[in-house]
Symmetry: C2
Subunit: 514 residues, 2 copies
Amino acid sequence: MSEIEAGGRRRRKGSRPDAGGGIRKVNYRQLRNPFPPVSVFTPDRVEAMHRTSLRVLSELGVKVLLPEARQLFAKAGALVDEESQMVRIGREIVEAAIASAPKSFVLHGAVRERDVVMELGSLTFQTGAGCPHATDLVRGRRPGTMADLGELLKLAHHFDAIHMLSPMVEPQDVPVHLRHYDMTLAQLTISDKVPFVYARGTPQSLDTFEMIRDFRGLSDEEFEAGAHCFTIINTNSPRQIDIPMAQGLIDFARHGQLAIVTPFCLMGAMAPVTVAGALVLSHAEALAAITLNQLSRPGAPVCYGAFASSVDMKSGAPAFGTPEHAKANLGAGQLARHIGLPWRCAAGAATNVNDAQGAHETEISAWSSVLAGATITIHSAGWVEGGLSFSYEKMITDMEMVNTFAELCTPPGAEDGDLAFEALSEVQPGGHFFGCRHTMERYQAAFYEPVVADWSNFGSWTERGALDANHRATAIWQDIVQNAPAFSYDKDRADALKAFIAKRGAEGGAPPES
Amino acid sequence: MSEIEAGGRRRRKGSRPDAGGGIRKVNYRQLRNPFPPVSVFTPDRVEAMHRTSLRVLSELGVKVLLPEARQLFAKAGALVDEESQMVRIGREIVEAAIASAPKSFVLHGAVRERDVVMELGSLTFQTGAGCPHATDLVRGRRPGTMADLGELLKLAHHFDAIHMLSPMVEPQDVPVHLRHYDMTLAQLTISDKVPFVYARGTPQSLDTFEMIRDFRGLSDEEFEAGAHCFTIINTNSPRQIDIPMAQGLIDFARHGQLAIVTPFCLMGAMAPVTVAGALVLSHAEALAAITLNQLSRPGAPVCYGAFASSVDMKSGAPAFGTPEHAKANLGAGQLARHIGLPWRCAAGAATNVNDAQGAHETEISAWSSVLAGATITIHSAGWVEGGLSFSYEKMITDMEMVNTFAELCTPPGAEDGDLAFEALSEVQPGGHFFGCRHTMERYQAAFYEPVVADWSNFGSWTERGALDANHRATAIWQDIVQNAPAFSYDKDRADALKAFIAKRGAEGGAPPES
């Protein structure tokens, strides 16, 4: 078995850690965004969009399906119409929520090296998430299973530049009232990274909090004093918050866990056809959800979020990685900075296969997310078919991009020695630097080692079977799934976790709310 | 035949220009870079790199193979050793050249709409260039021919976001002493964009200037008063300028045509293994070449340039789209801004096939070039095998990226109407925006129409043959090559051009210098 380096690459046989600068060591775990945020709107129009969103909330309102949530809004002074379930939220209520939401907090993994800081300026990535299907070149496209999720979690664990776990596929072979048990067990025992929890109603959330608390060896107080897991809250655009989402906003706040609010606004479909209009809706919905969250417990960890893209106006099919998606990402960043909260943005790909289209889509959407200053870029790797499938091979090929973002967080050396005047004196015109001392001292640690890129010439590549990156990726994910070192954990706690799951299963589990 | 829109897309049959905002019109021809330039070095280290480059020139010197060039340097006060052909260039001489080089000038196409402004802040793209092989999925990989170059020029002409022509493949079926005639004829009669000229010695350059001057209907004075073509000057790294390159720097300056100076510095091979060291060498060589150019004619149009990437230290194979390539691009931008000149940077791909690797490589290198503030990003489309082949299909799939950059130059609308408060009032919670007035007024012009991206669902895509982007691209380039409207030009001038070529051919043509 090959040795895994910090960056998630494998040491090649025969490499010499004692020469040429030694084996290259990288730290992709805590990243700061190296790029200045890019704007697409003038500041006055950002302010106008924010004002319009507040007007949407106060004049038009949001339909809130959960009675308890309407009560929380009413208690804070919002105008609630119980018959229509519409809640009109005044500006002051929203502004108080923005003020109470923390601007910086830590999301805890099992060990401190897996903690991630949630604040503007942090840079974290998640794989694709929420896909009903899994697909790979060996087994084809099929409904996602727990076995798939387990394998994919190994891939997510393997790469340090993936900072948080995701429900990469929906394990449809496990009944819905038991699914959260198996998903949580898998996450906790496969990786020490921050686990994800679906907000599918209070019973499932409380079950899961208990499992994470006990597996991490925390008291109730310790668990609730810091965020140890996170959920994604999708509003039902336009202007609706359903029961499980509202419960999630309340439950996660009350237990000190992270709710990441992300309206999913397809321009021209569930949102206005303009980038600015879609963002006004998305912003309004995010603010409504953040308000409910903060009304449940002021100061609870919460992230702003946006996921707006265009559709094919001929078919209504969602599109990702389009110029409009990129502009929406950049505009959402301006709104996030306007309210000052850490926030989630999204890459994405509509492609049906791991090809050049898919790579372009993911690159364009990921670059715009990173340039937008997103704290979290979700769907960075593996997402195809607009999220209907998770591709094992695309996970591998996209990691080249994610690792590159991580590499770009470290500026190139620029000490006098790096400027290489001596080497330039040594090598004569028309010569080369392969053997000079400056090179020999540095060559092994000088360059990023790729995950899947093949730099060999056409002849060698042809002789080796002329495999494209998609086909080369198969052996790479297979190797990681089979050979990557297992994460080690406390076996007693794992046994206790399994016993808890067996007991709760025997009691009937916890059906999702709807 | 379908109708071509300004953006280089085809109008689909049945689209209605009179509804939904009309057919979408875009102008990709004159672009301004929408991104603030990104830095990787602190200002003091940029200054240190610049100083070190000047030290390389004054203390170590550059080997200049052309006697006339050494004389120009000597006349300006440089220390020339005729025996070793080494030229040591003092700081003042370089600074005078930087001062005399124009910070902004126009590069002229056949018509004003094809003119491009060369200055910091302008954004232009070129396709891949200089490839010995052409490759496509129909005919396979083969040595490039004039027929290939003709087809590829049609593709380059078709897409407005490609602003200048390139020698996409080397037409090896034409003898070298006649090749420049056929290449120039093809460029001038296939496209109205700015043509490229190889600097392969004075006789070929002067032949070509004459052809362009006459075909454009210009007098000598008119031709020399503005740049109507350009060349690329590659130094022979490290620290060497060969005879045809030196002649190119002199000839283009004396005739007022554009020389784009681009050292090609592979870190650890022809340049130091560090990003900073490679840039110190690249910067020194670029300054030497710019100095020779400006000594030949102060004020001549010239561009700075850099093309530095890493190699596979195991095999020495060039790599592109790596983190080091991206960092070098960003650092080169800082050096370009330091001297204030318009400049050329490069995308690139080492992939052997038009796959996800290739798309990632081109995206990473192109984004870093654009974020570096490059005036020209070369190799933006079609380049594979590190430039050993030009892929027809990759030209098509990469254009999605190039067009996206062009789209991002236009900020999203943010007038009050774009903010869509009325539409948001009209559509009830849980509803959709497909039919609302706000959408109907805008939908046809709202979104970018892709070149090759397929947004259909997995079922439809599978029914249509499950073609990946690479395979879909074949029909797209074939359609453009066969059906795109021909560029119209003055037939008499074309006849005169052909007569000139026949006469010069009969006289023996012009063998390249070496």
